[in-house]
Each structure stands twice: as structure tokens, then as C-alpha cells.
Amino acid sequence: MHSYHLDHLQYLETEAIHVMREVAAEFERPALLFSGGKDSICLLRLAEKAFRPSDIPMPFLNIETGHEFPELLAFRDHRAKELGAKLIVRTVDDVLARGVAVQSFGETSRNRLQIPALLGAIEEFRFDCCIGGARRDEEKARAKERFFSFRDSFGQWDPKNQRPEIWNLYNARLNPGENMRVFPLSNWTEMDVWEYVRKEKLEVPSIYFSHERECFRRGGQWLPIPPPHTDNGRPDPYAGARPKPNEKRAKLIVRVRTIADMISTGVIESRADSIDDIIAEIAAARVTERGTRADDKASEAAMEDRKRAGYF
């Protein structure tokens, strides 16, 4: 005899599958944003659960800043191939080359430039919906985001004009040119994501586990030293993101807790080399929330992560 009751991961899973199927049924041309990061890895498994034995009925889309960790790109390509999905890649480099957007003076990070690249891809493929892996627990502004987040014809989010979302009834209706962003992981926390990775035995890119890396200290965090610039004909894409002579360098045992690109991802010192270790580390980071820094390393992990969140 079963108890007819779902535990928290099963509940989050069925909620997310429901959301994904609504997307497949209600939109003409949806896409799934897949970066190779831990959240989008969960999205892919949820898509398998929602749509198998059929093919996942939407292509994967990734916007490259040009500063990606090579491990991440390799993982992304390998996973898309494994699932038999169509992977569309559009790049900030291309947007810059075509003059669609311009890098402002001294701007090193390309986070901002991902926006015109994404909107360009939406227009090019006439996507009416993009599924993303964002979570509400990531930051305060996200805490008010909807599962189905409406964007006007300029791709803008208007927090004053959000559609109320009641029960599990999602309003997916759009006028031409408008767009929806859908976030099946809205109710997931960082811990839920890792517990799901463990439960589903999902493969994740190696940089989530501890490894040795050349780093430098900037803005209170450790950043990876970018690969050397070899192409002398072109400007250094990492200009501004290389250590200055007065910045401390070190070879450290580190891992990444969240991945953006190499410029904006702080690494944390960590010996976690399994999913269990990562989960224990995140749980420990919460213990120190009592206000006593019992374990400096773990608490630093918490701090680094917060600061990074503040970046965006």
C-alpha cells in the first residue's frame, strides 16, 4: 500500500513537468535556454520526463558571451547531442561584429550584451517562448517573477503589469511580437537543484567539482585567470579581465558554485569533489548563518555567492 503523498522533490518535479507541457501545448515556437549550467541541466531532465518517448519538441538555445569556460561548452554540446536535440548557438561576438550592439568604453563583462544577442535570436527564429532555468530564491527581484513571465514587443519585463498567476492556470496568450519567458524551476532552491542532480544521477560539468586553477584576487573574490591570448591579429577578448601586476595570484583548489562566464564567475576554495560533498558544503554554508563563523571556508562560500548575486 502506497502513501499517496509526494516528497518535496517529487512535488517540484511534477509542477515543473506540468509547466513544460503547457509550453509545448500553448506555444507555436518555443525554445529551451541551455547553457550547460546546473539549473539548465535539471531543465533537460524535466523535459525528458515531460515529453519522452517523443523528442523534446523544442530546440535548445544558448547565447555565448565568448568568455565561456571550455569545459562548459564541451559539456553543453555533448549533452545536446546525447539527447538528439537541435542546439542553436548565437554569440555576442556576432552581435558586436554586425554592429547591432556596441561595447561601452571599459566594459569587460558581456552580460549586458547577451540581451541584444538573445533578442536577435528570438527575432531570427520567431520564438514566442523561451524556457529558462532561473529560480526565485536567487535574488530579491526574482522573488516576484512569474512562472510565465510576459515580455512586450521590446522584450521588456514590466513588474507593474504582471499577470496574476492563480492555481496552476497559466495564461499563455500573446499578441504578435510579444514573448513569454517561462521558468519551470521558479520554486526550486539551490539545494533542491543539487538534490535533484543527485537523485537523477545527472552529469554536471567538471568545474563544479574541486580542481586546481590559477586564480587572482579582485573585488574580494577569486577569479580564474583567462586563457592566454594567442591570436595576434585580433584584440584580446579578455582585455580588462586579466590580473594586474598588483593583484594577488595563487594556484588554488577551487570549484565554481554558480557559472556565468569566466569573467563574472568567482571561484570558491573547496575540496568538494562529489555531489554529496557539494550538498554538504551548501548545507554547512547555512549552518554558519547562525552568525558564528565556525568554519571559515564554508562561510566564505556563502559570502562569495551572495556577492556574485549582487553583481547582476
Binding site: T14, P53, K144, P164, D192, S299
Partner: protein, 439 residues
């Protein structure tokens, strides 16, 4: 406290309702703080602001400061969600700031809640807001209610005062049909009876708020009586390379009620065709049975015509089937509801055109009396309406099933979600044509 790494926990969703000064933010802050769910930098920020402005006293309401700032900028944020965990449960809190659009906000935040916390200021007792919040919680059929009588420190922890307020509630609660109501004396500011028991209430023998949130029985909050599968997506592999899937045809959806077993009889609506369940297909392998709210794919014995918006049901507890619907609606748009207007009605996975044929009454939320014959329903009004739909809807009364008894109205043209609706029980149930389907 660290979560035990392999211990499965369940999830409780709750919302907090209170007027501006009832201490709602302080309560959420206290729950997060005392259950050790704050990050170090959040605590440091609190301590910093305590040194600067609070004379050394930590102000837990500052945790929701981001929201306040946005309000000052004139942005209306209806619902913010917060997450925390204890070793026993994970929690999703729907935090609904703002009192201007409170009805709309509370309906949004509470629609998926297992439990509502209604905050009452012990000095003031039951005020109109308390009645309003309790009324909405009852209308939404939130299974569990906590009346948190806060600021007990300001009435000298008087048991007499506590009982007085409880009695005020008891006077009108029977009219609201709430099954599980707990009264709790506390001080969110000082942390009494929130996470830690208070030494100041020896006369109180119940649980702390967190203790109650951790232990309240939510296993039966889902309807497990009549099987309902609103078909979301028809799963038919295109040119599969694997020959096993050549003839695969499955009906995917989230079970909205009851359970289903392989081999049992089911009927597809609106076609009325009956067949049996051949397989319950999931990515993780076939299941013998499945239950609400699992997401599954059903394979049927016979090749019958079923598409999105149809519903597959079991032989017991038959649903209603009608294009003439009665419902309570909460109106959520500045443009009022008027009779004769057409909307899209989204119910389960089914969207259909609907026209409002009459507004029967508007609920006076202070005394729970319906006021007949209003000309319109304005934003935040709750009222009973009658609708005619272009095609019949397969439904249950909201009181028996929140998922098959609820709908939203969408304004044509703007596509705005303008109403949340709760259907009245069907006047007659669907009449199955297949003779072997009679119960």
C-alpha cells in the same frame, strides 16, 4: 541546522496575511532568523542597520526592505515568494505586501497554499481586515488556518485577552466552514512561540508556529477521490528510431484528482468513449498506479480520439458537464466586470470563450453577506456570477477539487488575466453512455 543529506522531506506552502502594522514582515524575518535560514551577509546587514538606526535592536522587518523600497517607487509588487527549510519540511512562503490591492494579492498568493497565517494585533483584536483575510482563506478552501495573535507582549501576555479574541473569531468562524483552525499567542518581535516556546505563556499548551507548520498533516490536502486527468499534450513520437514507439500514443497530463490503476476502466470526455488503462508510462518506467498531483502519460487500450482540453476520468465521482456555470469570482482588473462581455475562460487545460450572463451578487466581505444585484464587479470585488461557455466544461465544484473547480478569465485583446473563479458544484453530473461504465 544542516539538512540530513538523504532524508526525504515534504513541502508545505503557506501565505501570511496581515495589515500593514500587524508584524507580518517581522514574523517572516523571525521564522527565517530563528530557524537559521539566513545567510551571513543578511544577518550582518541586519546588525549594521540595528547599530545605525535601531539602537542595537535588530529589526527583522528589514529583511523585506527591498519590497518596501519598490513600493516607494510606486511599483506594485503583488506577491513575493520566500523559501526556507528545517530538517522536517521545506517551506514556500507567499508574502503579499500592500493593502490597497489586498484581495487580488491574497488570492494570488494563497491559491496554492496548504495553510494561511492570519495575523491579528492583540491590542486591536478582530478588525475588518481580519474578517476579510479569514473570509478569503475560507473562500479559497485553504485546508489549514492559523490565527496568530501577535504583539502579546503589548497586552502583558494576558490569557484573558487571548481568549477574548479567540471568542470573537469563534462567533463568525462557523459560517465560514473552516475545518482546521489553530489559535496561537505570540510575539514575532521578541520571538515568543514563533520558533521557540515562550516562558511567558504557561497557559498555552499548543505548538509554536514553526512546530505547527512542521507537523500539520497535509497528506490529504489533494483530492484522491474521483480520477481526473486533464489532457495536456498528446504524446505521439514522430518517426521514432526505436521500433517500440512506432505506434505509441499517450495522453500526458498532471492528475488533477484521484488515482488511476493499470487495467481500470476510464472514460474520455467530452466524447464519452470508455476504454481501459493499458499502461501508465513515465520516464522512470511504467507504474501500476498513479495519483494526484503526479504528472504521467496514460496509454489506453483502444485508439479513441482524445486531444488537449479533453478529460480522462474514472468511473467514480463523476464530474459536471455543462456550458451554464455558476461561480464565485475575484475580480482582478481595473476595468470592471460587466454582464454581456466575452472572455476566454481557461479551466484545467481547456480554453473556451465565455460570456458573463449575470452578476448575481457581490460579497460584503466584512459581514459575509451577499448583496444582490450589483451592476458590475470592480477590482478586488468578490461576487457570484453566471457564465455561458461556447462549449461545455467538464468540472467539479471547487469545494471538492481545487484543480478541476477553478478557472481564470482572460480579457480578449489585452490578454490580461482579469478574474479567478471558483465553480459551484455541478447541478447534474455527466451521463455516461457506455453501459458498462455505470457505477
Amino acid at each position: 541546522m544542516a539538512l540530513p543529506a538523504h532524508h526525504p522531506v515534504d513541502l508545505l506552502r503557506f501565505n501570511t496575511c496581515g495589515s500593514v502594522d500587524d508584524g507580518k514582515s517581522t514574523l517572516i524575518g523571525r521564522l527565517l532568523y530563528d530557524s537559521k535560514n539566513l545567510m551571513e551577509d543578511q544577518i550582518e546587514a541586519l546588525e549594521r542597520s540595528a547599530d545605525i538606526t535601531g539602537g542595537g535592536q535588530i529589526n527583522l522587518a528589514n529583511l523585506t526592505d527591498g519590497l518596501r523600497a519598490e513600493r516607494e517607487q510606486g511599483i506594485t509588487i503583488d506577491v513575493a515568494y520566500r523559501y526556507f527549510a528545517t530538517p522536517r519540511r521545506k517551506f514556500i512562503v507567499a508574502d503579499t505586501p500592500g493593502h490597497v490591492q489586498y484581495t487580488r494579492n491574497m488570492v494570488t498568493g494563497a491559491s496554492n497554499a496548504n495553510l494561511s497565517v492570519v495575523l491579528v494585533d492583540a491590542r486591536q483584536g478582530v478588525i475588518e481586515q481580519s474578517r476579510r483575510h479569514t473570509c478569503i482563506a475560507s473562500l479559497l478552501r485553504i485546508p489549514h488556518l492559523v490565527i496568530a495573535i501577535n504583539k502579546m507582549d503589548l497586552v502583558n501576555w494576558s490569557e484573558e485577552r487571548f481568549i477574548e479574541i479567540r471568542d470573537e473569531f469563534e462567533e463568525f468562524l462557523p459560517r465560514l466552514d473552516m475545518k482546521d483552525v489553530k489559535f496561537l499567542p505570540m510575539s514575532a518581535l521578541e520571538g515568543d512561540n514563533v520558533v521557540e516556546f515562550s516562558a511567558k505563556t504557561p497557559w498555552y499548551t499548543g505548538p509554536t508556529l514553526l512546530g505547527h507548520l512542521e507537523s500539520v498533516h497535509i497528506g490529504s490536502d489533494w483530492n484522491l477521490n474521483g480520477f481526473r486527468l486533464p489532457v495536456q499534450w498528446v504524446n505521439r513520437p514522430n518517426n521514432p528510431t526505436d521500433p517500440r514507439w512506432h505506434d505509441f500514443r499517450g495522453f500526458s497530463g498532471q492528475i488533477a484528482g484521484g488515482l488511476v490503476r493499470v487495467g481500470q476502466k476510464v472514460m474520455a470526455l467530452p466524447s464519452g468513449l470508455a476504454t481501459t488503462v493499458k499502461e501508465i508510462w513515465t520516464y522512470d518506467g511504467p507504474e501500476d498506479e498513479a495519483f494526484c498531483p503526479q504528472s504521467i502519460t496514460l496509454v489506453l487500450e483502444h485508439d479513441i480520439d482524445v486531444s488537449r482540453g479533453d478529460m480522462i476520468i474514472g468511473p467514480d465521482h463523476l464530474p459536471g458537464f455543462s456550458s451554464d456555470l455558476f461561480a464565485d469570482v475575484c475580480w482582478m482588473n481595473p476595468r470592471p466586470l460587466q454582464t454581456g462581455r466575452k472572455y476566454f475562460l481557461k479551466h484545467t487545460t481547456h480554453t473556451v470563450q465565455a460570456v458573463v450572463t449575470s452578476i448575481e451578487n457581490r460579497l460584503n466581505i466584512s459581514n459575509f453577506e451577499p448583496e444582490p444585484g450589483p451592476s458590475e464587479l470592480a477590482m478586488n470585488d468578490i461576487g457570484e456570477i453566471r457564465l455561458r461557455t461556447a462549449r461545455p466544461v467538464i468540472f467539479d465544484g471547487y469545494e471538492t477539487n481545487r484543480l478541476t473547480g477553478s478557472f481564470i478569465l482572460i480579457e480578449q485583446g489585452t490578454n490580461a488575466t482579469v478574474a479567478a473563479g471558483m465553480l459551484f458544484p455541478p447541478r447534474e453530473v455527466v451521463k455516461p453512455e457506455a453501459s458498462d461504465f455505470v457505477i
